[in-house]
C-alpha cells in the first residue's frame, strides 16, 4: 500500500501536479462546470439575464431541494417540458452531484424591484408571510421558508431572488395540481388552493421586492407540526400512489 501511494505521488509530480480541471480531450475541461453547460444556458448569473426572465435562480438553493426537483422533473411528478427532456436519461447519482454543485455556487442576486402594491395589500401580504392565517389553517410562509425567506436545509427552497414570472407560474401550478402531481400530502398545493387570486398576485409582486441575502436556515428551525405536514418534501419520498 505505501509503495502504491508513493508511486502515485511520484506520478503526480512527474505529470506536473495536474490541476483538478485537467483537459479531458482537445481542451475540454473534465469538470462538472463543463458538463452543466445545458443548465446554465437558462440558469445563469443574474447579471447575465433579463429581469423579465422566467428561469429561477438555482445557485445557492438547498441541495436536497434541488435534487428532489431534478428527480421530480425526470420522473414526471413536476412538469416542465424542457427539464423533462434534458433529464430523461440521467442517473440519481449524477443528479445529486449536479444539485450539490449548484447549491454550493455563489450567485449574483437580482436587484429588488419595488412592488406596486397599496399599503393594505402590503400589510395583508406581510401578515401571511410572517403570521399566516390560523383560521384557514395557513402557516406563516416564514415558518417553513425561514425567517429570512432564504429556505431551510436541506429541502425547502428560498423565496427570494426569483423572477416574478416564475413565482406566478408556480402558484398557478400548485393551484391546478401541475406541480408535485400525486404527492400526498402536498403541502404547498393545499396552501396555494386556500389563497385567493388577489393574495397570490400580491405575494408574487411582494417577494421580488426584497433583497436576497444570507444562507438557508438550519433544519431545526422547523416545528415538528410543520415537519409532519411537509414530510413528503423533507424525506424526498417517492409519490404516494
Amino acid at each position: 500500500m505505501p509503495m502504491k501511494f508513493f508511486a502515485f505521488i511520484l506520478l503526480a509530480m512527474i505529470s506536473g501536479l495536474v490541476s483538478a480541471a485537467e483537459p479531458a480531450s482537445a481542451g475540454i475541461p473534465d469538470t462538472l462546470e463543463e458538463r452543466i453547460k445545458p443548465c446554465i444556458i437558462c440558469h445563469r448569473d443574474a447579471d447575465l439575464i433579463d429581469r423579465d426572465a422566467y428561469f429561477p435562480r438555482i445557485a445557492g438553493k438547498p441541495a436536497g431541494y434541488l435534487y428532489n426537483q431534478l428527480r421530480n422533473f425526470r420522473d414526471g411528478r413536476r412538469y416542465y417540458q424542457p427539464m423533462a427532456i434534458l433529464l430523461e436519461n440521467m442517473s440519481d447519482g449524477y443528479m445529486r452531484e449536479i444539485a450539490e454543485y449548484f447549491a454550493s455556487q455563489p450567485y449574483a442576486y437580482l436587484e429588488p424591484v419595488a412592488p406596486a402594491l397599496s399599503p393594505d395589500e402590503t400589510k395583508s401580504v406581510e401578515t401571511l408571510m410572517y403570521s399566516g392565517d390560523p383560521e384557514r389553517d395557513l402557516p406563516a410562509c416564514s415558518a417553513c421558508h425561514g425567517e429570512k425567506l432564504m429556505g431551510l436545509q436541506p429541502a425547502i427552497p428560498g423565496l427570494l431572488g426569483l423572477p416574478h414570472a416564475y413565482l406566478a407560474a408556480q402558484f398557478g401550478g400548485w393551484r391546478n395540481g401541475g406541480i408535485m402531481r400525486g404527492q400526498i400530502p402536498d403541502c404547498m398545493s393545499e396552501i396555494a388552493k386556500k389563497l385567493t387570486q388577489e393574495e397570490v398576485n400580491a405575494l408574487v409582486q411582494w417577494l421580488p421586492g426584497l433583497p436576497a441575502s444570507g444562507q438557508s436556515a438550519g433544519a431545526d428551525a422547523l416545528t415538528p407540526e410543520l415537519a409532519q405536514r411537509c414530510r413528503t418534501i423533507l424525506s424526498g419520498q417517492e409519490v404516494a400512489r
Binding site: K37, P38, G76, A84, L87, E238
Partner: protein, 473 residues
C-alpha cells in the same frame, strides 16, 4: 470507457436460438431421468456441453427422491415443492435479463411509476393505447396467467381471454422469441411484487376497435413463428438477428409503417416513429445509421455507453440504451453488432460532387454560419470536428446530413444529455436553444451544418422547425 463485464453474464449463460432443438432433446432426456431415478443424472449433462451451458439444471437426486416419496406418501409434497429449486432461481435471473433485452419495462412503466405496472399511454393515429399492468397481481395484473397464456400473448398476439392484441404490443417481433425465453421472462414477471394498479382503458378510434378488422390485419401482416437460425451464418450473427429482429424488436421503430400501422418490411430501413416526433434512422443505409464501415468495437461502444467517437444517442435511442442495451452482455452486444454490420447496403462509392451552390442558397446557408459561430462553435469546433466521445463531430455526421432533418432540429430545440451509463456515467450535454434562437435562425444553422465542411443535405426552413416541435410528455 466501458466496463467489460456488466451484470456478470457470460456467453455460456445465454441462450442461442440454435440450441432450441437441443433443448427439446434435453427435455425428453429429463423426463426419462425422472422416471428412472436410479440412473446417474449427470451423464446427460455431460453429453452436451451446449445444453449444459443453458443452465437447465436437473433436479438433484434428493429432490427427485423427495418428490417421488412425497407423491407416494402425500405427506410432504408441498414443503419440498415450495422451496425453489436452483433451476427456478436461474430461470428467473435469465428472465430478468431477457426482459431487459426486450425492454418490456420501457412500455410497461409510466414515467416515475412502479416498474411493470403499465399505464403508459402510446399515442398512435389509431387511438391511444394504454399499456397493461404485467405484475402478478390477480385483479389488475397478470396474476391469473400461466406460462401458456403468456406464450399465447407473446407468440400469437392473443390475450388470455382469446381476444386479439393490438400490434402496439410488438408481438409481430416477439413471435420470434423462443418458448424457453418466453417462459423465463414469464417466470421473472411472476417473481415481481404484485402491484395493484388499474390502468385506464385504451381509447381506440373507430373502426380500429373492431376485432374482425384486427383479424384481417393479422392475416395480412402477421407471420407467426419462432426465429429459425440460418445455418450458413455464425452463432453470433444468429444471436444478433434474434435480438435485433425478435426480442429487441428494433424493427418496431427502425422501419417505416404503412397507413395501417404495419411495418413496411423487416429491413430496418428507417422511418418516423409512430406517435413521436423522432425519426429512427435506417440501420442499413450508409447514408444514415448503417454500421457497415464501423469496427465491431465502435458499434458495441455506442450501444452500451450511448456514445462513441463518431456518434451520440439522443431521444428515444438514448432511452433504449439506458433502459435496455447498457445491461446486455458483451456477447449479446457483439452479436447485435455482427448482425447489424452484415446488413449494410452496398455503398455507392462514386463520391458525391459538392456542386457549386446557387448564389441564393449560398446566402441562405451563410446566415446559419453566423449563428453557428455564436452558439455552436465553442463545443463543436470551427470545422465541425467536435470532440470525439464528448461533443459529437458535425462534419461527416450522418445524423446531421441524413434525409430527415427532424432529429437534428430537435437536438437544437431541446438539447439533451446522452444516457448516464456505467461506461459514461457523467455525460456532457447539449443545451436547449428553444428559448434563445428563433425558428428562422434554427433553420439557418441546421441548413448550414448540413452543408458545411463537405456535408451535403437539403435546406431546412422555419416551417420544418415548427413541425418538429412536440413531445410525448
Amino acid at each position: 470507457m466501458r466496463n467489460s463485464s456488466r451484470a456478470g453474464f457470460t456467453r455460456e449463460m445465454l441462450i442461442n436460438p440454435a440450441n432450441e432443438m437441443k433443448r427439446e432433446a434435453h427435455e425428453t432426456q429429463r423426463l426419462r431421468h425422472i422416471n428412472k431415478i436410479d440412473e446417474e443424472v449427470s451423464t446427460a449433462q455431460r453429453s452436451d456441453s451446449l445444453v449444459q451451458s443453458i443452465n437447465q439444471h436437473f433436479p438433484s437426486k434428493w429432490q427427485i427422491i423427495a418428490f417421488v416419496a412425497g407423491g407416494l406418501l402425500s405427506l410432504i409434497p408441498m414443503a419440498s415443492a415450495q422451496t425453489p429449486a436452483d433451476s427456478d432461481t436461474e430461470q428467473v435471473r435469465r428472465g430478468e435479463y431477457l426482459a431487459r433485452a426486450g425492454n418490456c419495462m420501457g412500455c410497461h412503466t409510466t414515467r416515475g411509476g412502479e416498474p411493470y405496472a403499465g399505464g403508459r399511454k402510446l399515442n398512435t393515429p389509431f387511438g391511444q393505447f394504454v399499456t397493461p399492468n404485467i405484475t402478478p397481481d390477480n385483479e389488475t395484473g397478470i396474476g391469473r396467467w400461466n406460462s401458456e397464456d403468456f406464450w399465447q400473448a407473446l407468440h400469437y398476439g392473443k390475450s388470455k381471454d382469446g381476444r386479439y392484441l393490438y400490434p402496439a404490443f410488438p408481438y409481430t417481433e416477439y413471435t420470434k422469441v423462443t418458448r424457453l425465453d418466453a417462459d423465463a421472462i414469464f417466470a421473472y414477471l411472476r417473481s415481481l411484487p404484485p402491484v395493484v394498479q388499474t390502468n385506464p382503458p385504451h381509447k381506440i378510434s373507430s373502426p380500429y376497435d373492431n376485432q374482425f378488422l384486427l383479424y384481417l390485419w393479422r392475416a395480412q401482416y402477421f407471420k407467426e413463428g419462432v426465429y429459425q437460425p440460418d445455418k450458413s451464418k455464425s452463432d453470433e450473427w444468429n444471436r444478433g438477428n434474434y435480438l435485433v429482429q425478435g426480442l429487441g424488436h428494433c424493427t418496431a421503430c427502425h422501419t417505416a409503417r404503412n397507413v395501417l400501422g404495419a411495418s413496411r418490411d423487416d429491413k430496418l430501413s428507417g422511418g418516423k416513429i409512430m406517435g413521436t416526433h423522432w425519426y429512427a434512422p435506417s440501420l442499413i443505409s450508409p447514408l444514415e445509421a448503417g454500421v457497415g464501415e464501423w469496427p465491431i468495437e465502435d458499434i458495441v461502444e455506442l450501444l452500451s455507453t450511448g456514445i462513441n467517437s463518431h456518434a451520440v444517442t439522443s431521444g428515444p435511442m438514448a432511452t433504449i440504451v439506458r433502459q435496455s442495451l447498457q445491461h446486455l452482455s458483451d456477447y449479446d452486444l457483439r452479436s447485435m453488432a455482427v448482425y447489424l454490420k452484415s446488413l449494410d447496403e452496398k455503398r455507392d462509392n462514386t463520391p458525391q460532387k459538392v456542386r457549386k451552390m446557387p448564389e441564393q442558397v449560398r446566402q441562405y446557408v451563410a446566415l446559419g454560419e453566423k449563428v453557428y459561430k455564436e452558439h455552436c462553435q465553442n463545443c463543436h469546433g470551427e470545422s465541425g470536428q467536435g470532440v470525439p466521445g464528448i461533443y459529437p463531430p458535425l462534419a461527416g455526421n450522418r445524423n446531421v446530413t441524413m434525409r430527415s432533418p427532424l432529429n437534428t432540429i430537435r437536438n437544437v430545440l431541446y438539447g439533451g444529455y446522452p444516457p448516464a451509463t456505467a461506461g459514461n456515467p457523467r455525460p456532457y450535454g447539449m443545451p436547449p436553444f428553444q428559448h434563445f434562437i428563433r425558428d428562422p435562425e434554427i433553420a439557418h444553422v441546421v441548413s448550414y451544418i448540413r452543408n458545411a465542411w463537405g456535408n451535403i443535405g437539403s435546406l431546412v426552413y422555419p416551417d420544418d422547425v415548427d413541425n418538429s416541435r412536440g413531445s410525448e410528455f
